[in-house]
Structure formats: structure tokens, C-alpha cells
Symmetry: C2
Subunit: 427 residues, 2 copies
């Protein structure tokens, strides 16, 4: 085994040892630790900013683009946000020890199904260093030991944040190694983590489609897939077209780089000529490049848009593309059936919206579209733990097993059956 | 791609197509299909028995051992049991369309979290052909299309049962290919199934530890691990020793080949001299070979047992061994702490029992042992969907993600968020 592999294994094993004790801490004890972690972030703000500056300088020297530099940067305000997010976790209900079922069996045995932590949760993420604090907090609140593996660009920042949090948690009575960071920037560290079936209970990759596919294909540890969002807005013939325009503008342009952004607009052929020209005008004003099917391209040309400048012809690849950029694919369809077919064929089961005034058509879409979140007359941008009222979010799951959609504390628990008898044996 | 790979892919894809329609069937429609399936099994009993006889003859010719032949054999009684199990599913509550959460968000949007099927469930299993009917029924009741891959020993039986069920389901209004069997006996078919991420939603291996490990290590489709059970009975110093003897005898000897059977007996050193001799006598009467640690071996020798005949020295491997046979490892420990440590180190998180009259010690065991089912003063043999009151069982999960312990209908569902708005966009 390489030195790195040994190191990753030892870290995960230490987290496993911690998890057994951590699972037994009361909600009050865990909340006290969260408050201590928040205080420690505030106290150590200068050191964290200093570490962050090392990352920023290295990133700038590499020619990293502005948008990434902005995600990487930590200042007092952002550290304060990380601290208050930890404190907000204290107000959420305890996900542990919930009695989900309780009954006396035919033979007098008492059965209880009780929520318990998963154990060791590994989170692999890319540039943003605030994830270090968010993930550590959500894991601790749910009684799980965390193994955190941040991106190399934020290595110093992540290490500074993680070590401040780990010290504070331990100081507040949590077992040592409840919060562990893997500081090696070698990608092989993630590969080693994925081998640790039986040590790590779940692996949550947060990042680009490439990272997630890599984990799904190679991990022996169970994975919760997150975040790839090829989301659609479908404008039905009976839609309020102003509402529809507001929704697609919000779903596409609110933020380009997020997983709940719309990537394809589907529009009923019956309203394409009326709906598309003013919508294209607004999208072009925002600088959105359009990828148009033939019918939409005809409408665009009629409205004076220029091929090659305002729009390009859509290809089969466009339907599956998560641009995460000011680009939008547009396809005309013949009614809700074809729209549903398109969404189920090309979507990533993340967030899908229909705009229509017809409740029956809406229900058909809500029921037949296979996605974590389906919207009627609202923007896909709402798919988010905070917006859904979960109070936190460790990711947005696009798989169906265990957790689906935005998930946080409940998604990091399992259950255990406890059976209390008086000597019962089975005949 | 090989011909087999293409064939498996086509079958799974057909099941995926079916799953979209199946998910929309009402509980009444699904129950009607289950009744039709039960009736069809009864009607086609002679043909099924005929197919089974082909398997039995081939198995006998291969020199298959009696216990396996017994698992393989189908007669009228067993087919009737399969049929009535399908009918019993009709009486269980519908797992679909359950509103798990419902609230109005701050912006007036209505959020609902509703249970939905997983989609396509693949079950890979070994000899017993009744699993074909059980799995098909549980999948259909929960609105999932089933891809069934039975063991080669039961190939004709499985094919006969599956095709009777598939025809009956389709005749009763379910979409074609709601129940699919992979009939190739080539092991590569399972390997191909494991590649179908995005087509198959979950893979449930039911069988030996080798099959399960193979799936966990190589599947790109999410897996629910089932069934390996290295279970323990721990006899605490304050136990009622007669009760303890009854429990270990039941947990070990009720059936040797099942996953909830005890494989190791832990006993407090303080009561070893009193508890072990009469317990060893009973176990030896049943023909159970003992694997003893040094202290237990001393007691055995003192009680007149012979090394090499009645017992052998336990090795490190014995602690991790799931015998599934009339063999039992025995270790003396110094109290509940050491017992918990042993169980958490060597157990497979299946079923674990403590026998004690001390409620505090019992609670410590129930809370600190990390297993799907933990028992106080009762036999591990109760870990079973029927015994737990689930009404059915597709497997016993030994993982923490998604399903844990015996699981059935609820374990084959996911959820979907439906959001109904009036034009809301996110600021």
C-alpha cells in the first residue's frame, strides 16, 4: 500500500472509532459543540483569512478565472456566515433517537425502530471552502464522524477551517477525530477513500459531473449522487405567457453555475410564435446564447435574430448538456406527452417545471416526470434545502436510493431495530 | 458488446419502459394483478412442476447435495404457498402516493413529498425458485418493474414461474415487461446488469457472501447488501442461565443455513463454569461442533468433552466465520464492554442478542452495538420481515443506506417533491 493510501485509511479508521462514541452523545452535547465551533471560527478569523490568502495567491498565479476565485475567497463576512450557519443547526430538531415505529409483537416482544447516525460520512467537494464548515456541522449535528476531502485549490483554507472546527469540537467534549480532513491534494486520496467499504458508510461527492461519475463507477462505498442538473422548463399551450417568461428567465439567468438552473426550454408549437420572440429578446439582452431546433430557429430568424451570433442550431448533444453557463437549448414540442418524453429521456432527475393554466395537464406532468422536484408554475431555482425548509443542505441527490432531492440531517441517518423480550425463542 | 450483454440491456430497458406506466397504476389495479398472478400459479401448477423436475434431474445428475435439492424442489404445497403469499400482499397498505410531508412555503408555494416507486429493481438470487414469485409480487405491489436473475440450478423453474406471472400481470392490465426474467445461466449476465446505471435503479443480491461482495465491489448500480449474518449471543453474568441456554439453542440450532442464526456465543467469564457444561452437552447432542477459546476449552475438558471430537481450539478466523452449519464459536469475555467490542469488530451488523437481568447493561448493549437488529433476552432468529410485521420481505439489509434490517415495500420506494405555485420565482 502506498503511503497516501495508508494515511487515508488511518484517517478514516480514526473517524470510525470516533463515530461509535459520537453516536451516543446527547442532542444538547452536540449542540454545545456546534456553538463552540461557531465561536472558534469567529475567534480564528485572521488565521483562516491568512490561509485563504495563500490559496488565493496560488490560484491567481495559476491564472484561475475570476468566477472560481470568487468562490474560493473568504473574508470576515463569509466566515461569519459559516459561523452563524453552525449556530442555526442548533435550532433544528434532533434527527437521532426518533422512534419511527413501536409495537408489541404477537409473542410479547417489544419492537422499536429508532433513528441512528450512518456512522462515517465522507464528503468530497470542489473549490468552495465554506462547504468544509457546512458539512462538518451537518455531520456533527446528525452524530456522524466526517471525513472531508476538499479541492486542491482551497487546500490551505480547508485545512485551516477543519482544524479550527476539530479542535473546538474536541474541546467541547466530542471524541477526537469526529471531524477529519484529508489534506493531501493528490487525487488518489479520493480513490483510496472509495475503497473503504466497511469503514466509511457513505460517500457524498459534490462537484462536477466528472467527479460524480468517477465515484459512481469506482466506489465500493455506497455513494449518494448529487448535483448534476439538466433541468427543463416546459411552456404548455395554455400557459400564462408572461408568467412563463418570468419563470424561464429566473430559472436560466438567476445564476448560471448552479445545478437547479434550467438548461433547456421546451415550448408547445402552438404558442412558439407568440412566446419565443419576446423571450429570446430578454435572453439575448442577458447575453444567453441560444441553441435552437429548426422550428425555434425559424421563429428566431423571423424576429430578426442572427444565426451564428444570437443562436446556433441545436444538436442531439445539446439536449443532454448541462451548460452551467449563459446558454440555453430550445425545442418545440407537440403537447405535454412529448414534453414528458423529452424530460424523462434527457433530464438528470433533478428539477423540472411546467407552466400551464390547465390543472389536468399539470398533474400529468407532476406525476409522470421522474425527477426529485417537479414544479407547476414556479421556477426550478427553488430546489434547495433552505428553500424547502430543511434548515440546511449537504447536497441535492439525483438518485432515488436513500435520499432524493435536497437532503441534510434526516438523509444522514439510518435506523436500528431494538427488540426487548423475556426469553422468547422462535418456533 | 457481446450478444449476452445486448440481451441483458434490452431486457432491462424494456423493464424501464414498463416502469413508467406501472408507476401510475392505482393500488386496486396492482392488487387485481397480484390476484391474477396467484390464480395463474395455481392453474399452471403441473407445468411448473414439470419444469422443476428438469432442474431436479439435472441437479441430481450433478451430485447436488440433499439440502440444496430440498431448497430447489417445488410441489403443489410450495406453489400454493407462493400463490397465497401473492394474495397476502393485497392486504398490505399501498406504499405509493403516501404524502410524507405537506406544507405551504413562505412564498405561497405548496410543497408535497410523495412516495413513488424506485423504478426498476433487479434481484439476483440463488437456488430457491419461490424467490421468483416473492420478488415479482413485492416489486409489483410497490409499482416497480422487476428484473429477476435466478440461479442456474433453478433455471427452468424460475423461467416457468416468471413467465406464468408475467403473462398474468399483463393480462390483468399491467404494462408488458413489468416482470422480466434473465434466463441465461451465464454469470456474465449479472456482471452486465451491474453496469446498467441509469437503467436499473437498485440491485439486490440475495445469496452467499461471495455474490454479495462481488456486487458491492463491481456494481455501478446502487446495491442493497443483504443477508450475511455473523450473529452473536452474549450471556452476561447476570443472565437467567436457563433462559440464556434456550436462546442460544434456538439461535444456533433452529435452522443452520439462515442468516439470522448465531455463529458465536460470548459468555462472561464469571458464569462460564456454570453455564457452559450443560449448554455444551445440549449443543453436542444436536451434533454442533464447538470452536472454543482457551478458557472455554478448559471448562469443556473439565466437563469431559474431548478435543478433536467435541471441540477444536478457536482461531482468529472463527470470530469472523459465518458457518451456516452445525458449528459454533465460543469466547469468554470480561463483561459487556468487551462483548460489545467483539461484536462491533467481527459482526456483520445483522442481528445481535444479549441475555441479562440487568436493564442498564441491556440498554448499553442495545445502544452501542451497531447492527440492524439488537435483542435483549430474545433469540436472533426473529429477524425476519414476517416476524417484524412487515407482511413480506425482499431481503435483510446489512447496510445502513436506504434500508436496514428486514425490508419490503417501503424499502422499494423513493419519494418525489411536487411543488405547486402561481408563478413564483426566486430572488
Amino acid at each position: 500500500m502506498t503511503e497516501l493510501a495508508t494515511q487515508v485509511r488511518e484517517i478514516a479508521q480514526a473517524a470510525r472509532t470516533a463515530s461509535a462514541e459520537l453516536a451516543l452523545k446527547t442532542a444538547d452535547e452536540r449542540n454545545r459543540a456546534l456553538r463552540a465551533m461557531a465561536a472558534a471560527l469567529r475567534e480564528n478569523t485572521p488565521q483562516i483569512i491568512q490561509a485563504n490568502q495563500q490559496d488565493m495567491e496560488a490560484a491567481r498565479a495559476k491564472g484561475t478565472k475570476e468566477s472560481l476565485l470568487d468562490r474560493l475567497m473568504l473574508d470576515e463576512g463569509r466566515i461569519e456566515s459559516m459561523a452563524s450557519a453552525l449556530e442555526e443547526l442548533c435550532d433544528l430538531p434532533d434527527p437521532l433517537g426518533q422512534v419511527q415505529e413501536e409495537r408489541t409483537l404477537y409473542n410479547g416482544m417489544e419492537l422499536k425502530r429508532v433513528s441512528v447516525p450512518l456512522g462515517v460520512v465522507a464528503v468530497v467537494y470542489e473549490a468552495r471552502p465554506n462547504v468544509t464548515a457546512d458539512a462538518a456541522g451537518i455531520c456533527l449535528k446528525s452524530g456522524n464522524a466526517a471525513v472531508l476531502r476538499g479541492g486542491s485549490l482551497a487546500a490551505h483554507s480547508n485545512q485551516a477551517v477543519a482544524s479550527v472546527l476539530a479542535r473546538a469540537a474536541e474541546g467541547a467534549g466530542m471524541p477526537a477525530n469526529s471531524i477529519c480532513a484529508i489534506t493531501s491534494t493528490d487525487r488518489a486520496a479520493t480513490d483510496e477513500l472509495m475503497q473503504l467499504h466497511g469503514v466509511v458508510d457513505v460517500l457524498i461527492p459534490r462537484g462536477g459531473a466528472g467527479l460524480i461519475r468517477h465515484c459512481v463507477e469506482h466506489s465500493k462505498v455506497p455513494v449518494i449522487e448529487t448535483g448534476t442538473g439538466n433541468c427543463h422548463v416546459y411552456v404548455h399551450a395554455d400557459a400564462d405567457l408572461d408568467m412563463a417568461r418570468g419563470i424561464i428567465m429566473n430559472a436560466k439567468c438567476r445564476r448560471y453555475g448552479v445545478c437547479n438552473a434550467a438548461e433547456t426550454l421546451l415550448v408547445d408549437a402552438a404558442v412558439a410564435a407568440e412566446f419565443l420572440p419576446p423571450t429570446f429578446a430578454e435572453l439575448r439582452q442577458k447575453g444567453v446564447l441560444l441553441h435552437l431546433d429548426q422550428a425555434a430557429a425559424q421563429v428566431a430568424l423571423g424576429a430578426g435574430l442572427k444565426q451564428g451570433e444570437d443562436f446556433v442550431p441545436a444538436t442531439e448533444e445539446d439536449w443532454a448538456n448541462e451548460y452551467l453557463a449563459p446558454e440555453l437549448a430550445v425545442r418545440t414540442v407537440e403537447g405535454v406527452g412529448q414534453a414528458i418524453e423529452h424530460v424523462n429521456a434527457y433530464g438528470t432527475m433533478h428539477s423540472e417545471a411546467i407552466v400551464t393554466a390547465d390543472p389536468q395537464v399539470a398533474e400529468e406532468f407532476l406525476n409522470r416526470v421522474d425527477a426529485a422536484a417537479v414544479y407547476w408554475n414556479a421556477s426550478t431555482a427553488f430546489t434547495d434545502g433552505g428553500q424547502f425548509g430543511l434548515g440546511a443542505e449537504i447536497g441535492i441527490s439525483t438518485q432515488k436510493l436513500h435520499a432524493r432531492g435536497p437532503f441534510a440531517l434526516e438523509g444522514l441517518t439510518s435506523h436500528k431495530y431494538q427488540l426487548r423480550g423475556t426469553g422468547q425463542v422462535r418456533s
